[in-house]
Each structure stands twice: as C-alpha cells, then as structure tokens.
Amino acid sequence: MIQEYHRPLTMSTALQLLSKHGYKPMGGGVGLSRTSEPISVVDLQSLGLDTIKADHQLVAIGATSKLAALNAGHGLSDRLLDAIKIEYSMNQRNAATWGGLLMRSGGSSLLLAMLLAMDCLVMWQPDSKEVRLGDWLPLRASQNPGKIITQIIIPVEVKIQFEYIARSPRDRVELCCVVCNWKTGRKRLCIGGPIEAPILLVDGSGKINPSSVSQNAYSLFRSINTYQKSAINTIITRLITGEQFKW
C-alpha cells in the first residue's frame, strides 16, 4: 500500500529518501506495487535521467527514458527495436523506463536477454558505479550496486540475432535466445525462459559447439522437459550456425 509519494528534484534528495526503510524507487508506469505493506515511493521522473546520447560507438540511455524514446536514429540495431515491440505494447513503451526494465523484467524477457547479450553497462548511484549487466543480473534479487540506476550504456557496433518461442507472435515469450557478434570476433549468446533472469551462455571468440552450449543451458533450468531441451537446442544451433552469426 502506497502511503507516501515523493518526487525529488535532485539526486542527493532521492538517495537520501531511498536510504530510508520502506522507500522504493519508482520508474515509469507499467506496474504498481500491490504489497499490503506500507511503502513510500520515490518518483525519479524529475532527476533529468531521461536523455539518450548516441555516438558511433555507444548509446547512453538515461534510466528514466521511456522505451519508446529509443528510435532508429540512435544507431542501434533494428533487432533491438523489434524486441521492444514484441515484448511491450505501445502504451507500455510510452510508460516503461529502461531502468524499470532492468529491475522488473523476468527470465523470459527477450529484451533483457538482448541487453545481456550486448554486454551493457549499467551506471548506478550513489558513488557513480559502473557495473556490467552480466555481473549484476544474477545478483539482482538480493544485491544491487546502488540505489538508483542512472544510465544504461549499449554498444552500437554489434550485430544481433534472436529467436523466440511463443504461442502467438506477441504472446508471453516462453523461450528465447539472443546472439551478439562484434567485429572483433567476440560472440555472446544468452538464453531466456522460465528462470529468474536471462543467462549468458557464451562469451568469447573461439569456435562454439551448439550441442555443448545447449547442454550447458539445460543444466541452468530448474526443471526442463524434452520439448524445452529440443527447442533450446534448435534455436541455439540456428543462431550459432546461421549466416547471421558472421559479420
């Protein structure tokens, strides 16, 4: 139950509020807390964290930028924009923030899997910490590097491909796999599904054996049936062996 609402104008005030017990940061507007516990929300919309800056190498997305604010002009892969549309309706994209996405998205989130595969950097306050998404995500439920996400840094020169399985094109994703490929030859492959958060399975530039990657994926699922094994193996194999895996 929300008992107090705060909209701080400075980062220091926001951090001060969030250091109190029962104070929770609030991003956009795609979901409200249903807890019966009394909480106070700290709305981050007036902290100036809603800018998107792009150069040839990186795009820095402010944490309170809406998902809809990212567009083709920012130079990121169209596949990222496709993933946003698959996962979020227009109304949701107009309200959901990038910071909120990182905090709330679950294991089957195609978009979160994509950001993980892209090896995003997440900026936190206090102390201006920079943390790789892959380093933080496994700890997300228990340990955050700071109180507020301020920015997400995404590399531009990355090729992305993904596959996902759902009952219909815009239904909840059941399984997904994202592969990113850098010009340097570096490859990262992530998988999402009925797990806490998407998982990084490959990060390197050597030859990849789809079968062993799949085996590794199976072991990370709490329970997995024959179909899921087959589907995971199929989409991993497709992405690794397909033309799209090369520059």
Partner: protein
C-alpha cells in the same frame, strides 16, 4: 496531497491520496470515457489517456505521477453536431472515421483506440498499416478483430492529411474483402445497407453509457471473499472483526441469507438444468467460490474487511480430472438435500446432465462401412475475456423497488432469477441494462447481481459490485472443456454410413448451461454430415454425452455454445477420413454434408427448447461458400502444390492450408420469445423499445433497420432503447444467435401494425384534403418519411404524427408485438486457414483466415462482417494460445491477460469475410444468424492447415509449439 494537473487544456488542483491511480482520480472527476477492464496492470488499455501526447495506461500510473503533465481524454475531442441553438464543433475526424468504418462494436475500448490514433496521427500524419497496428497494440479489443479500427485510423489519416476525401484515394487494407451478395433485394432501402450503428456517436465520444459510468451518493463497494480451496466445508466463519472495522457497512455469510437453490444460467423458464447453486453456502466447490460478501465505504476498506474474516475450512478431496468424476469412490460434490434435479441429473454420481441421442442405427451403419475410423480429441477451458468486467449496481428506489443496473445479456431472466433468490416479487424488481462492454455469453449468467442486491437489502444503501480481471478468470464462467471420441463408418467411395460422438464435458462445480451447451455440441456439429445417397434420407448418428461435475470453476455459455468444441472433433476427424480414403477433403465433405430441403437430423431427436419437432432446412449455401472461400484464399493454387508449401532458403518453415465446414443454429425454437414496441412521435420519429440486449453486436441498429424498412423511413428517425424491464417488452435476451431473427421478427410485426395505423390515418387525411374518397389505406405507400397515394398526393410522417397526437381523433400510434420461432434455421460457413509452421520448434503462425458464410440476408454488412472478424479473432485464440490451466490444487494459473493471451492488433493474420446471401423463408427479411458461427471453424481449419504443412496431426488445442512439436515427433516416428 494536492496535485496540479492539466486535463484537456484546463488546470485543476485535485486532492488525492498518494496511492490513488490516475484512472481512479480521473473517473472520480467525471472522465467516464476512461474505462477499466479490471486488470489494474496495464494489460487491456481500456484506461488509456494521452500523457504529454503519448498513449499510456492510467491504471498503472499514480495520479501523483501525472502532476505537471498534460492529460488528454476523449471528452476533449469532439461533440455531437446537434446541440440545439448552440453551435458545436462536431465530432473529430478520427471519431467520425471510427463511426463510419464500423470500428465500434461494444465501444468499451473505443475511446482508448481513438486516443491512440490521435497520438499516432499527430506524430505521423500518414502512417502505414503496420504503424497503425503498432499504435493500437496496447489496447485489447475482443469484438472487432481490429480490422475496422485499423481501417478507421487509416481513413482518418487520409482525411486529416488531404482534406477533401472524395478526391483522395483512401489507404486500403489488403485484407479487406468486398462483401459479395448473391441475391440483392433491390427494393429495400434500409435492410441490407451498411448503416451506421445507432449507438456509435455516443460510444465514439466516450459518453457515460456503461453500467459503472454513474455516480451515486452513499454508494458502497461490494466485494466477495473467495474460497482458497477447491473443495471444502466451512466449519466456522467469524466475521466479528470485519464487522467492527470502521467503514464496513455489512458482512454476509451463508448464515445471514435465505438458502435458496437456483441456477446462475440466464435461460427461459424452466431453467433446463439443475438448481445447484446458493448465493452463499457452507460448502465451497472450487477455488474462487463464494464464502462471504462485504459492503464498505471504499474499495480499500472492503479489502481490509475481507482479510479480517476468519474461516475454518475442512478440506475435502477434490475432483480435478473429469474422467474421475463418475468413479465409484469419488467424493460427491453436490450432496446438498435442496438440490433440484433436471432431466437425468444425478449428483450422487457427479453427473449434472446426460444426453443419449440415437438417430437411425449406427451399429447397422458401422456394419455397412468399408472402414471404421476412430479418433480422440480434446478442447480446453477458455475464457470469454470481454473487456468490461461483470458489474452491477443495486439500490432501492423511492418506491422501495429494487433497481438493478447491470451489464447483462439477459435483463428479464435476471429479474426472474433474482426474484426467487432475494424473495422479492418480480414486480418489485427493475433491471436496467445500459450499454454492455462485451459479454460473449458470460453475461448470460447471474453472477454479481445477487451479491449487490443482498448487500443493498442488508444495508439499505446502493451497492456496486464489479469483478476484477483476476475474479473474471477465477470466478466467472468459461467454455466447457471436453474430451470427445469420434467413430465414423465410411464406404470406399467416401459415403459416411454412421457417425458417432461420445463426449465427456466438464461443467465444473455447478451445472449452469451443462445440458444445453453440450447438447449443442452434438446437435450442430453432428448434424452437418449425414452421409450420401440413401443415408441422406436416413442417417445413422449417435451423440452421447456425460456432463460431469468437477471442482474446477463452473463452465457456462460462451459464444458458439458448445459448437466450437464439437467442430474441433468433427472437422479434424473428417480431415483424417479424407486422408485415409485419399479423397479431396472438400469433395469428401460436400459429398456427405446436409443439403437444402433435407431434414435437420436432430430435429426429431433433441431440442434445446421444448419437445423436438421435425424441421426442414430450407437454405444451405455451403457449396457456394466453399467456392467463394477457395477463390479468395487461392486454394487451388496452394493445396497440393509442393512448391507453395516451401519457403525458399528457410527449410524448417513449411506453409499449409486447411478448411473446415461448419453450421450453427438461429435461436431456440418453440421457447425463446422476443418482444418490441414502437410508438410514433409528433415529428414523425419513432421510439423503438426492445427488451433485446445489444452487447456490442449492433443488434439495436439491425432492429432499427428492419423497422425503418417497414415504416419507410431512415434509421435516424428511430430512437432505439434497450433495455429496461419496466419499460421495454419482454425479450429472452442476447444469446443463441437469436436477436436479429427472433427480436427482429417481433420488430417487423410491431412495425407492420404501426404502418397499418399510419396508412389508415394518412388515407383519412388525404381524403379530407383532396375530397377524393377513393383513397384507401391499402393504396398508401410509406417511403422517405411520407405516406403517398398512387396519384402522387402525399403527407409527411410529421404531419401524421401531429394529427394523431394533437388534432383529430387523437390516438397514440403504437404497437407491441412478439415472436416465437417454430424453427432454428442453421447458418453455414466454410472456414479457411493458412499457416506457417516451424517444423523444428513447433511454432505456428496463422497467416490468413478466410470465412465464407451463408447467414441468410445480411441486414447490415458492416456490423455483420465486424461480427465475423471479431469471432474469427476469438476463435484464433482458441486455436493457438488460449487455455485456462490449473495446478494440482485447482488453483488457476492464468488470472491475467499476460499469461492468458488474447490477440493484439499488431499480431493479427489477414482476415477476409464473404457473405453468400440466401433468403431464409421463415423470416420476413430472410435472415439467419451470424453472431456465433465465426467461432466454429477456425480451430479445425488451423489444425488441418498444420497437418497440411508438416504432417503434425493434432488431437488437442490450443496448437501450442510444444503440442505441435510432439505431434511432429509422432508423425516422424510413424513415417521413419
């Protein structure tokens, strides 16, 4: 706290609490155009507003977050063009486009769509179809299939960009097909014409037209405590703490109210099913069953009050597998002594209803067959998912009569059923049905009306009860899940010699609609294929069904009413038989399907209404439906064409094409009655009062068109009102695809009587005016709002109305009429589907749906095609993704629109509709039903298309990737 907020260009300072949503505050302030689908989670988008020009969900945003921002609602966009002496700006182009395109059905999501369109067009004046679909992606619509809303936005874009529409080529949607009419009644000026819906203007403006769009002083919030157990006895219930909570006005348990068995099914008297439900009971029979009611000053207090009710349950064994219900050692779900039987109900065996129909002799037919083909099929429990939840408001009026304002399909049945449950005479109850935000059968059920009424009786105050979306999934109704066994005898030449369906239907915890839904499963689907040659005259058909109780939430009425379940089995089975015989699937079906002039095979064996009576089917346009549908989808170019099935460069994708043929019924013969009254006003306009309930289907418009046709006026001169049990004539309500046919015939009869009075008066006036005493009423023609004699003398309806009410031999020209049908003429359709299957993952994309229908004369092509598009969309979900799942304790796993997915605008396949018009002789305008048949064929057509694509032969829907993959594994195992 106080916020400063700008709404529609005006600044306000509003007192709010920190936790209040923007939705709640805007509706509190009177912005009723913003609707609530009960999800509270931004799933449906009915609560869309524009925040700084962008469409957002107001249910997931705090009002405090909106402070300092600009909010736009539909109230600001346009207004009715006629406001007396005041000049208005008229409707916005987008609103006008939605009205003209037929994009408005129930209208509950319309304001949201219009806002989303506005946001899009302000940023992108000339969008493509994909961009429009993306803009609408956040707003779920269960009625339209999104086709006409998309068309409306494209049309508005063109008008806004180019001004004079007449000189501009309007953006076209590739999927839209022209409606083809094979027989056009050329003399009709209203029937058969694409008239604008009579309620469209108010719905486009977001006017407060729905049940919850009112404010009442002192109204209480009613809520229900639901059972956490699938089956349990309530040993003790302590409400003392809840009653003490400040702000709680009443708490009711089974101890407080009369124990009266009833059925929640809104059907004609006598209810064709067991009376096995109590408003509150000391036993709960499913997770979500009622335990207690509370009325409180606010929603929050009500919730806290519910949490203070202490219940001691004794958990009982639960039956969650319908195949176990009738086992000897199974627990008995209905052991209450008050249980009232109907027909073969046997609660001691957990049997709610039983059907045994034998037509001819199937055993003889099987012996005469060259092959016997068996098959087992299964269909899931699915939810109607109307966007407006169940909602009712009850209060005592100044005469101490109970007024029930409710979103119901059956106001008169609701009044009758409530009368018994509340121990209040019918004359002391008034049921008002405002606009309905979709129902699809689920509002043919008395689900929340009695809750609100009990609380009003207890408190003396108005009470509002509205289900949340979670409650809709947990505690409303659904389509019956069924397990169906088929056995068919067939000769080598493809003649069916005998056809048998054995059905196990799960009615859940209560038997509402148990008998009739499952009866229709066989009555419609097993009537289509009678066999050929001598078997046509004497088909051999068996339909047996057991409808059993389980501890799942009750099933009930859902558009199609048992028939989609039957056709999944029958049409998959026919496909298998044609493969077995190596016959063309269409040729095989047409060879055995029923034809014009033949007896409906079930008409002598079973009726949903009274005793069965032989019924000849006069119009069967099935062959023509097949021809038209084949042409549209390109069947001949695709079916059997190996190249077409492959996608170059992507070897794991395969395309497939499939067909299903279906039939439905039109109303319930000998039983259901519709009534209408028409009265003439002094300006020559007419009030048409109908008890029929337009739940978004456009029936008010269609009824007005029929009246207008008879009276020789435009529908703009007819004011339609539906429904209010105090003022409108009795009507059975909106179900069984009956309104156009039954209520329509009543309207025609009433209009004919009014027309007769008009002719008599016109003849008198003209005789007086002209001195020509040869003018007779029989010679008067009514057209264009005038009564004319053969010599060209005429008088306007306005003059006649004035004359009748004010000047000479005054009378109120009016008539009341009613109609009961002796037949239920079936509509027919050919449904085609095209799919792409990922043969490695089992993922299925439905690319194209084409439906060709014989629904008799189409009164309004726009509303009728909208019905078909919306129906196909619902049926698409049934085919591929919709399924209500439960855990081992009977707890629902799908209580929102995230897990239970219904199709969005940006993922729809192509949709095409073509009407093959026949003239049904039993109706004055030759109509048959259109509302339900679109639900019947999509799933089997998709299933058959999947088979065609890759060999995966599905028994069960939805065709999830996992099920298709498993079927592929079976197929590969069989073929390797």
């Amino acid at each position: 706290m106080v916020i400063n907020v700008a709404v529609n260009g005006k600044n306000y300072h509003w007192e709010i609490t920190p936790g209040q949503t923007l939705l709640d505050v805007l509706r509190r302030e009177g912005y009723f155009s913003i609707k609530c689908g009960g999800c509270g989670n931004g799933e449906c988008g009915a609560c869309t507003v524009l925040l700084d020009g962008n469409s957002v969900n107001s249910c997931t945003m705090l009002a405090a977050q909106a402070a300092g921002h600009q909010i736009i609602t539909v109230e600001s966009m346009g207004e009715h063009p006629e406001h007396g002496w005041k000049t208005t700006k008229g409707l916005h182009i987008i609103q006008q486009a939605f009205i003209e395109s037929g994009a408005i059905q129930c209208g509950f999501c319309t304001p949201a769509m219009i806002l989303a369109a506005k946001a899009l067009l302000e940023k992108n004046p000339e969008p493509g179809e994909a961009e429009v679909r993306d803009a609408l992606s956040g707003i779920l619509c269960r009625c339209t299939g999104y086709l006409k809303p998309v068309e409306a936005v494209l049309s508005a874009a063109t008008k806004m960009s180019h001004g004079d529409i007449d000189n501009v080529v309007i953006a076209t949607i590739q999927t839209r097909q022209a409606i083809k009419i094979t027989k056009v009644p050329e003399t009709w000026h209203s029937v058969g014409k694409p008239k604008i819906k009579v309620d469209a203007i108010k719905l486009a403006q977001g006017k407060p037209a729905f049940t919850d769009d009112i404010e009442m002083r002192g109204i209480l919030v009613g809520k229900i405590l639901h059972s956490p157990f699938a089956h349990a006895e309530i040993l003790d219930i302590d409400v003392s703490e809840a009653r003490k909570l400040p702000g709680v006005a009443a708490v009711l348990t089974w101890k407080d109210i009369p124990r009266i068995p009833y059925s929640t099914a809104g059907q004609s008297d006598p209810i064709p099913g067991p009376l096995d439900t109590f408003s509150l009971d000391h036993k709960v029979r499913f997770v979500g069953d009622r335990v207690a009611f509370i009325a409180a000053e606010t929603n929050e207090i009500a919730k806290v009050g519910l949490s203070l009710i202490k219940v001691t349950y004794q958990e009982l064994p639960a039956i969650l597998d319908s195949t176990k219900s009738m086992d000897k050692d199974s627990v008995i779900i209905h052991d209450e002594p008050e249980y009232k039987h109907f027909a073969d109900s046997a609660p001691e065996h957990n049997l709610a209803a039983k059907i045994r129909i034998d037509i001819g002799n199937v055993e003889v037919g099987f012996k005469q067959a060259d092959y016997i083909i068996d098959g087992e099929y299964e269909v899931p429990k699915v939810q109607q998912s109307h966007i407006e939840p169940h909602v009712a408001i009850t209060f005592w009026d100044e005469d101490d009569r109970l007024v029930v304002r409710t979103s119901t399909q059956v106001p008169f049945h609701a009044r009758r059923i409530l009368s018994g449950v509340l121990q209040l005479p019918i004359k002391r109850i008034r049921v008002i049905k405002p606009r309905i935000g979709g129902g699809f059968g689920n509002k043919q059920e008395i689900l929340v009306e009695d809750v609100a009424a009990h609380l009003t009786i207890a408190t003396g105050r108005p009470v509002r009860v509205e289900y949340t979306r979670e409650e809709e999934f947990m505690a409303s109704r659904s389509r019956h899940p069924m397990k169906i066994r088929m056995k068919t005898g067939v000769k080598k030449d493809g003649t069916i010699t005998a056809n048998e369906m054995i059905c196990l239907s799960d009615t859940g915890a209560y038997g509402c609609h148990a008998l009739t839904v499952t009866g229709n499963t066989g009555h419609k689907s097993m009537a289509l294929y009678v066999g050929d040659n001598e078997y046509r005259k004497s088909p051999n058909i068996r339909f047996y069904a057991d409808i059993v109780y389980t501890n799942h939430p009750p099933a009930g009425a859902y558009r199609g009413y048992g028939v989609p379940q039957g056709f999944w089995a029958v049409e998959r089975h026919m496909e298998r038989i044609s493969k077995k015989l190596d016959m063309d699937p269409i040729e095989f079906r047409l060879k055995n399907s029923i034809r014009s002039g033949e007896l409906h095979p079930f008409s002598t064996a079973w009726s949903e209404g009274r005793e069965p009576q032989p019924e000849i089917i006069h119009t069967v346009g099935l062959k023509e439906c097949v021809q038209q549908g084949k042409a549209i989808i390109g069947w001949d170019q695709k079916y059997g064409n190996a190249d077409w099935h492959n996608i170059p460069g992507i070897p794991y994708l395969r395309k497939g094409i499939g067909i299903a043929m279906v039939m439905q019924g039109t109303a319930i013969p000998y039983l259901d009655m519709g009534g209408a009254s028409i009265k003439m006003n002094d300006d020559g306009s007419f009030n048409l009062l109908v008890g029929a309930t337009d739940l978004g289907t456009g029936s008010d418009t269609v009824l007005a068109q029929m009246a207008a046709e008879v009276l020789g006026i435009e529908i703009e001169d007819i004011i339609v009102y539906s429904s209010d049990t105090d003022f409108t004539p009795f009507d059975k309500g909106a179900y069984a695809s009956s309104t156009t046919y039954i209520s329509g015939a009543a309207v025609v009869k009433a209009a004919e009587q009014v027309a007769e009075r008009i002719r008599i008066r016109a003849a008198n006036i003209l005789r007086t005016k002209t001195g020509d005493q040869t003018i007779s009423p029989e010679s008067i023609v009514l057209a264009d709002g005038r009564a004319s004699d053969p010599k060209g003398m005429s008088i306007t309806f306005s003059e006649i109305g004035h004359n009748a009410l004010h000047h000479q031999n005054q009378e109120q020209i009016m008539a009341v009429a009613s109609f009961v049908s002796q037949v239920s003429p079936p509509p027919f359709a050919a449904q085609f589907a095209e799919v792409t299957v990922d043969t490695e993952t089992g993922k299925v994309i439905v690319d194209n749906l084409v439906m060709a229908l014989d629904c008799g004369v189409i009164v309004n092509p726009i509303t009728a095609s909208g019905q078909v598009e919306g129906g196909m969309s619902q049926a698409l979900g049934y085919a591929v993704c919709e399924e209500m799942r439960y855990d081992e304790k009977g707890v629902s796993l799908d209580t929102d629109w995230v897990n239970y997915h219904i199709f969005r605008a940006d993922e729809m396949p192509k949709l095409s509709t073509v009407f093959i018009q026949t003239f049904e002789p039993s109706h004055p305008f030759g109509v048959k039903a259109v509302a339900e048949i679109p639900m019947d064929g999509v799933a089997p057509a998709v299933g058959n298309a999947i088979l065609d694509a890759c060999g995966a032969d599905l028994n069960t829907i939805p065709a999830t990737p996992e099920r298709v993959w498993e079927a592929l594994c079976t197929y590969r195992g069989e073929t390797e």
